[in-house]
Symmetry: C2
Subunit: 161 residues, 2 copies
């Protein structure tokens, strides 16, 4: 098992991971009809450092790390993590988050912020709480869940210094 920087040769594997998450529309705010090209442009945007979690040559997870803001807010990092449907429950998101916290510290970020954790995504919420993130904001009805209608989204934050 290794976490390494993603390259263009990972595009197909990453799309295989991202597509079901985007189509489900339950956890991220990407449009559910987003194309492969749009999704990869988003995931590999110039300001992002993109990683994959790989095992025996198979990519089972991916995450990006970027500054959450520019200028006076550029010392706070932001990340997004997705695990393949087949590899859920094996601690891959946790491993990627721990990796991202180390990488963010290395790069000199002083904190990490998640802008939009859908409140019904309890697995993610509990994982981030267990890794030292706090809920610092609640956005009432800010997410339209395809099954549950308007639900809150949470802002989570963790200091790194």
């Amino acid at each position: 098992m290794a976490i390494r920087q993603a390259t263009s040769s990972d595009h197909d594997a990453i799309w295989t991971i991202l597509e079901p998450m985007i189509r489900a529309g339950e956890t991220y705010t990407q449009p559910r009809d987003m194309s492969k090209k749009e999704a990869l442009e988003y995931w590999f945007a110039p300001e992002k450092e993109t990683f994959v979690w790989e095992e025996n040559g198979a990519v089972q997870g991916t995450y990006f790390l970027k500054p959450n803001q520019q200028g006076g807010g550029a010392h706070v990092a932001n990340c997004g993590y997705v695990t393949s449907a087949a590899a859920q429950g094996r601690g891959i998101a946790r491993a990627m988050c721990l990796h991202s916290l180390e990488r963010a510290k290395q790069r000199g970020f002083r904190a990490m912020q998640f802008n939009f954790v859908v409140s019904t995504n309890e697995r993610a919420l509990n994982l981030w709480l267990g890794l030292g993130f706090e809920v610092v904001g609640r956005l009432p009805g800010a997410f339209h869940h395809p099954e549950q209608g308007f639900v809150d989204a949470l802002v989570m934050y963790r200091t790194l210094v």
Copy 2:
């Protein structure tokens, strides 16, 4: 006095308003060395509707309105407002915010969110509170103020329905 949609013929006037705000680096998270071209690309980004506040042919304020997120978060609007240094204290930001709330309702947005109100920007904070926004989140030390060092930023939210 009128608030109207901005056009490319407003670029110079808008830059005159944006430049001191960007160079000061006290309220927005744009890089302080941002160029005119970069600033105008940001202010007129494709997802933004951009307005100006004009009086006797002189543009004294400008704001943008956009969806704060895509997909399941696209029903929440986001705005940014800047008043010219010469016209501070005349209620122009207030007039632009009221205009934006109406415009957001017209477009079917259900709420408006400000992601990053610098806590030392008391004039803005009090203005938004007076217009029905609530502080729904506090980001500890998320802004590096050029004079005051690391200060909190606030997440503010107002329902429109």
